[in-house]
Amino acid sequence: MISKRKAGATQNLIMFVLFIAPALILFSVFVVAPVFQGAFYSLFNWKGAGPLNRENFAGIENFTRLFADKYFKTALWNNMKVIIFSLIFQLPAAFIFALLIGRGKTRGSVLFRSLYFFPYILTEIIAGVIWKFIYNPQFGLMTQLASFFADTKREIALLADPSTAFNAIFVVLFWKYIGFHMILYIAGLQNVPTELEDAAVIDGANRLQVIRNVIIPSMKGVISISIFLSVTGAFNVFDVVWAMGQGGPVHSTETLVTYLYNFGYKRFAFGYGSAVAIVIFLLCLAFNFLYQKYIVGEEN
């Protein structure tokens, strides 16, 4: 008996190694190795070609320059803004939409679901280009509307003003991703047993109390996933911002990734760019770790 079990265990171990090996190899080659490579590059004043040697070794200079750069601070702050605005406006709005049209009782809920989900299907670049037209100060929809209500031609240039440009872009992000979170919540909502709600109603709970004490607690898993995706997505915002102004005007709509592109790639400053990438990586890693440990871990 014992030897048989032991043989089984060995066989399991072999299986384990065999099954995990392909994924592990691919993960190491395409994820782990580049991270270390990037960390190594970030210590050099390197232009993307030529040797890495003592002459262009820069130590942590790239990082000190980075944290002293005002445009990097703008970029970091913009990412934080996306996170904060998403958590305050976008996710609650998505949740409300999900409550309103999530269960198919309302007339036309399927239509609304498709409508709200539609922007998510669009490619980011297409969405950015469409909104660039909407915001165009000479013939865009914003200008047309403003001129209609003001009765004279009023040119609205939200994307051209450093103080409004990023908020204008956030509107697009809001519009683009709300459908995705709404669908997540709808899926979660369908798993909340109606009996629980009925029981609460019988106990005299009003609609708000049902939502707060029955629906939200039962959807905790979905909500935490949605927050997680929203925050990690916010760290990597690029396409929409790029399509709408490449981080401009005057770097006011820069995010971490557009900053990486503008200041690393475009300037042939690959050592510096790697330093930016490492900072983004560490931020994501730290968030991931804390979130797994304190939010997701708590539930299990």
């Binding site: 066989q11 072999i14 299986m15 065999l18 099954f19 090996a21 392909p22 232009k47 993307g48 070609a49 030529g50 165009n136 100060p137 000479q138 040119e155 240039a157 994307l159 051209a160 003003d161 450093p162 440009a165 102004g245 490449q246 401009g248 005007p249 005057v250 770097h251 503008n262 790639y265 475009k266 300037r267 042939f268 400053a269 690959f270």
Partner: protein, 428 residues
């Protein structure tokens, strides 16, 4: 055991497949197949029926017909898209065989990275017989040539004569007159100056030209050569004068976020009176106009004088369009470029791209504005390649950033000059 064996076999197969795939990527092309040339060129902004693209396709078809062993893959890209895509290709160590270039610092950076083919012999033996050395020089560095121009022009003011007549203003001869003229045009309800500062390079033209008129060649040489700096009075004053103009809001609403295409559209649709742009401006205006006709009555004038400026009024800032060769370019690529740069094709390019041809004998096709522009370029004692192409890429980016910040009110003239100088001191 059988299962384990099967598993091992399948993972072995997977491994073999992955290595085979990666090995495949490094395989040399077989000798028997046709020589393939990758050619990346710019579009003329005309959409699906872009004449500039059709023209190049025709040249490829002609060459392939007479050279059966050669296949040319032509990729047409929009300006900004090209700049991004070419960097990815070069950094990946896989530049196309022939690709667009404005020469100068960016090209030199590619050459330093070993990404370009040295074509000095080809230039000396073949191209120098039909193209002047001044133009070829933009595509060379310290005696080594990497390609050839097909167009060499200058940045000048393009203006809508009908608007000027309607408002009753003449061509401004000085910077102060330009500001006065702009005021009058603005009062008449037109946008005096179309500006695509969102793309940044159209705005940097203004600052560079002002510096050229204020300090002349000496100021630039001092800063570039190390005897002075970009913080010198010339460059600070350039910013101050630019702000004098900006103070009357001569640009369209939202110019800070506008692209060059937006700028060309305003001109092409007759809503703006002037723009400061290179030789290609008329054709891009036409392609971006709603009517497809562009400005019917278009004129040009050179950059006005600045009071007390040391620069010669004949000095021109400009640049060329040309092609350089990737490190793996076959000899056929050189032969094709020579074929492409025929006198007839150069003449056609005048209409198609608004080019100022570089091949001797093709300038017969010039007339009106382009002839005048070519004359101005020919007379220039000091010809300055655009800073964003002439200076190293990192500095070029900072120049564009600094001018955009200046116009947005985010930097004073001193700060803008200091930004540029800091970056220059770091890179030079």
């Amino acid at each position: 055991m059988k299962k384990v064996f099967r598993l091992m076999l399948s993972s072995l197969l997977l491994f073999a497949m992955v290595t085979a795939l990666s090995a495949n990527g490094q395989q040399e092309p077989a000798d028997s197949g046709p020589v393939v040339i990758e050619w990346w060129a710019l579009s003329g902004g005309g959409g699906a029926q872009d004449p500039a693209s059709e023209f190049k396709k025709q040249a490829v078809a002609d060459y392939e017909a007479s050279h059966p062993g050669v296949k040319i893959n032509l990729t047409i890209l929009e300006n900004e898209a090209f700049k991004q895509k070419i960097q990815v290709a070069v950094q990946a160590g896989d530049p196309p065989d022939i690709f667009h270039s404005w020469g100068g610092g960016v090209m030199v950076e590619y050459a330093r990275q070993g990404m370009l083919r040295d074509v000095t012999d080809f230039v000396n033996s073949t191209l120098s017989k039909k193209i002047g050395l001044g133009a070829l020089g933009v595509y060379g560095y310290e005696g080594t040539y990497y390609g050839s121009p097909y167009d060499m022009g200058g940045v000048v003011f393009w203006y809508n004569k009908d608007i000027f007549d309607e408002v009753g203003v003449a061509v401004p001869k000085t910077w102060a007159e330009l500001i006065e003229t702009s005021k009058k045009i603005k009062a008449a309800g037109y946008v005096p100056i179309a500006m695509g500062a969102g793309d940044r390079w159209p705005a940097h033209f203004w600052w560079v030209y002002l510096a050229m008129r204020i300090g002349g060649i000496d100021a630039f040489n001092a800063a570039y050569g190390g005897n002075g700096s970009f913080k010198d009075e010339t460059f600070v004053k350039a910013g101050e004068l630019l702000l004098d103009l900006a103070a009357i809001n001569p640009f369209q609403t939202g110019f800070l976020g506008a692209s060059y295409d937006d700028q060309a559209r305003l001109m092409g649709d007759g809503k703006a009176a002037m723009e400061l742009m290179g030789q290609w401006a008329p054709s891009v205006e036409t392609n971006n106009s709603a009517s497809g006709e562009g400005v019917t009555n278009l004129g040009m004038f050179t950059f006005p004088a600045v009071k007390g400026g040391k620069g010669d009024l004949k000095d021109v800032m400009g640049g060329g369009n040309g092609y350089i060769f990737g490190k793996n370019a076959p000899d056929e690529a050189l032969d094709f470029l020579n074929f492409y740069l025929s006198v007839d094709r150069q003449k056609e390019l005048v209409d198609i791209e608004g080019a100022i041809p570089v091949v001797k004998g093709a300038d017969a096709a010039l007339s009106g504005n382009t002839a005048e522009l070519a004359k101005a370029v020919g007379q220039a004692g000091y010809y300055q390649l655009y800073y964003d192409q002439f200076l190293p890429p990192a500095v070029g980016e900072v120049v564009k950033d600094a001018v955009a910040a200046l116009l947005a009110g985010g930097a004073t003239p001193e700060e803008a000059a200091a930004m540029i100088d800091d970056s220059w001191q770091m890179e030079k």
